[in-house]
Symmetry: none
Subunit: 401 residues, 2 copies
Amino acid sequence: MIDLPHIQELIQPNESKIVFLVVDGLGGLPSTTTGLSELESANIPNLDNLAKISATGLTTPVSPWVTPGSGPGHLALFGYNPLKYTIGRGILEALGIGIEIGDRQVAIRGNLCTVDPNGIVTDRRAARIPSKQSGPLIKLLDKIDVPNITTSVLPVRDHRFVLLLQGDHLGENVTSNDPESEGLALVKSIALDMDSEKTAVAANIFIEQAGRVLSNSQSANMVLLRGFSKLPTLPSMSNVFKLNAAAIAAYPMYRGIAKLAGMKVLPTGESFSHEVDTLESHFDNHDFFFIHYKPADAAGEDGDFEEKIKALEDLDKLIPRIMDLNADVLVVAGDHSTPSIMGSHSWHSVPLTIHSKLTIGDGVPSFSEKSLSQGSIGRIDATDVMGLSLANAGKLRKFGP
Amino acid sequence: MIDLPHIQELIQPNESKIVFLVVDGLGGLPSTTTGLSELESANIPNLDNLAKISATGLTTPVSPWVTPGSGPGHLALFGYNPLKYTIGRGILEALGIGIEIGDRQVAIRGNLCTVDPNGIVTDRRAARIPSKQSGPLIKLLDKIDVPNITTSVLPVRDHRFVLLLQGDHLGENVTSNDPESEGLALVKSIALDMDSEKTAVAANIFIEQAGRVLSNSQSANMVLLRGFSKLPTLPSMSNVFKLNAAAIAAYPMYRGIAKLAGMKVLPTGESFSHEVDTLESHFDNHDFFFIHYKPADAAGEDGDFEEKIKALEDLDKLIPRIMDLNADVLVVAGDHSTPSIMGSHSWHSVPLTIHSKLTIGDGVPSFSEKSLSQGSIGRIDATDVMGLSLANAGKLRKFGP
């Protein structure tokens, strides 16, 4: 939507407040035993009531058949064309562990792996070596020196780590050394453009050194690097929409994405109830609040149907505190669906409610995939949710005479 | 849809007739007391019956969150991409008072205003001075001479007028002299490209002269000019769709838009029943009739819920006369919603019915926002309504082998 040439000239700032709740992995699919989805199974009276009094619909995150990652899922909701504005895998991994990244850095996602004496990859994930065992190995990697470059290696979880390269003129267009299949030899990382040659040279030196410092380890004796990426430059949604936007998220990755989108990240605690505390205490200071709820996605990803139901019920209990703030616009959306029966993100459309004085109370009976699909908004692109929120907040003027 | 590269090669002209009724500001929102929208509150048995036997849905005028003006709202229904084909504010104002505009003219929207002795704007609308008082002032403005340019000034209503500049090489890219806020000094109109310099010079001379001829007036002693625009060139829908298209509209602005779109404007009277007379008497001579109903929008803009109900009921009474013509295709659409509770145009999707031998009688219970949303067309872009009308009229052949 930021692509739309007219959005900026339509913006008319005002005092009204938007609370934009993103329930990660909100949508689901029916259980094969009950025929009911997680939302249909959960006892969520507050969300059900919200559905009744809101304009409701479903969002298409990227396209009807694209399963989005967290990056495009959120960027689309914030109004960015997710096919145009992308966040590299290395950067997203770094954001996920809360690292501050600068312009002179390239972030790379790393795996510990095993190779045989001939350099043939035998396990691309080193048997998912647990963090306790991988920690000391990652400390060894962190000590590697590459000439003219500052390197640092930070643990993520199990076999995964982030490698940061810092220096001048480091491009990001470098290929992985991962043969992508076990039984094949490591490949050399190469630069895809001239600006990235220094990065490729540094990566290959690092890989060689990694083989040396890990040579005595049984569990993992090599690294695979991929997702070379630099910080993307996104237009700031605070500027484009003339909002004083704040983000409240317990998980670092979502704070990172929000910061890239130009929001002010508010410090908060580790649970959603801490997030709601933060929303309440900062409510007077901003006109847009992105607040993120993670547990629904986490349970869905674990394939735990009952746990996802519980996550939705836990969310429901806190909805009254959010509604009591009487924001001019309250949006409940999801970045993508995460059906428990799939144990992963999916392409399915995602429940949406928008509540304001100017929404038709659609009167749908409950907050569920099927029920919300009958509402007045219908199926819209996720990139249109921001515009609809702004329209309901009175922050958009008429287009054309 | 005129953007669609294939539309022209798909056109197969035939004898069938399309009546395309545009109910201005058709959609609404529920009353806060009854919870029912204007359409839900109105007694409209003929429209309800039409809904039952038609294919039904909702249209998105420009995007799910854009509130369209009359220009983009109508152009979209006629198949034009409203972001690509635009009508300037000056031109639309001139069309609204029924002026014929030529290629060598620039139309400008003017306000009478007041300034203090230092040139500070004190009232941008001169207290909305009524037409009776503004008339003599506008006559004074009409006598202003600008070298090498023919100027004319025509009253619109109250403080509003249209200034027409006529001459060679008059571009339209000129900024307003309106500081857009009271308490600020007038700004100089400037040309944004070389082709518009002559226009800017003429505008500034006119403004200076206006200050002189109005200097003795207490009620308004200056003018604000904006919306400098020339006649846009739109592809003719009569040519593109191979239609012999006619327009019937009591209000000049809609006649003007129809003419820009390449329709033949039929003379008609001042009320919708006169329009239906015109439709009946010309029914044999054309294969496409745009017929425009204004009162629903006017009542909505006035924020008069009851009056909008009455406007819809008045329309309903004339539906049988239109249906008795047995057009092959009868479309009832709206250019945008105008909810009475907002007192303005809005972004909400707009009711649509299409009736032909080839439409599914959706059997929805009534002609209302909620009811029509459940029909077989679903939500479509307004730019697709023309194509759907042509398809139902048998005027589009198969695409591809």
